[in-house]
Symmetry: C2
DNA sequence: TTTTTTGTTCAAAACTTATTGAACTAATTG
DNA sequence: CAATTAGTTCAATAAGTTTTGAACAAAAAA
């Protein structure tokens, strides 16, 4: 396997780790991203990543659960293959934003628990409104993306040439 | 200490854990949020949370580093006190969005590593543009918040009464 | 200067999470 | 049906992280 690809796979592992998932999740996802095949077999993943069957089994399960990859089975072939789910963009972001929604609720709750209307209480009110509001705003931005993406992508590629 | 507050402190711990920080970080922050004092001493935090000095020392350091709390010292008092930093809203969100910026770069990089212009490559282009673009959009949304927050908060409180 | 207070540091312990590997199940082939 | 292949499960282990606690440093008080 191409050295560049292996490097990329490790990078991907580290990135996913930073996003709160495991390194192995990032590696498997990274491998499927850069593979030159449409789908890759369980055994091939295990071999390239040098991991155990148990590890690949658990990791692919997680990735399927998150929705980042999907299993593929072929007639006349008992192996399981995997491929990248071409996610609707914004879904991952939306799910991350839900964390902020919960953060917002916790902040609102903090306010109820306080015995004093001090400056922190004022800030808590503002913050809980903010994090609630921002969720809706981001939904709108994502809608805008779907409406205008062709234009946005064209523009982006255009400007890239002049960098 | 109020039972409601202790419950809140634990909730806060769990939430911060989910955001990728430690439980103790969440607890200290939670305690400062709901405390009825403007600032709280090191020893008081240690006592309420039933943790060691070493633990409080490391945790407060982290929280200061993130910018969520700040140390306060008083003349004629050798103790260190801590209080919530009344963060400009949106800063936390912005720093989280930087992760998406990096995600975007990683996706763009994956595209360079591939030897084939397949459907995943197309998706990678779209995704890397998306995650770059969304960062700017969110900056705009945050600016909008600062311009219109008074109105937004008033509206939110108004609707809350009718829930 | 000696003592006390306040907080820091860091090695060890406790805990948590990820990974392996061997035994197992399910499905297919011959 | 027996043999083979593919993948799962789970207990044991490895790896990593957090917390403690004892020794230490800094600063103020006596």
């Amino acid at each position: 396997m191409d050295k560049k690809k292996l490097t990329f796979i490790e990078e991907s592992g580290l990135m996913f780790e930073q996003l709160g998932m495991t390194r192995m999740v990032g590696r498997v996802f990274g491998y499927l991203l850069v593979s030159d095949q449409d789908e890759v077999s369980f055994e091939q993943i295990r071999e390239v990543l040098g991991a155990s069957k148990g590890s690949i089994s658990g990791t692919t399960r997680q990735l399927i659960q998150i929705g980042l990859i999907e299993p593929v089975s072929l007639p006349g072939d008992r192996k399981t293959y995997f491929r990248i789910t071409e996610l609707e963009l914004g879904k991952l972001l939306k799910s991350r934003m839900e964390l902020f929604g919960r953060f917002s609720k916790t902040l609102a709750n903090a306010r109820n628990v306080k015995n004093r209307e001090d400056s922190v209480a004022g800030w808590l009110l503002e913050a809980s409104v903010f994090y609630g509001w921002i969720g809706d705003q981001i939904d709108e931005v994502i809608d805008k993306w779907h409406r205008e993406k062709d234009q946005i992508i064209k523009t982006k590629i255009g400007t890239k040439k002049n960098e």
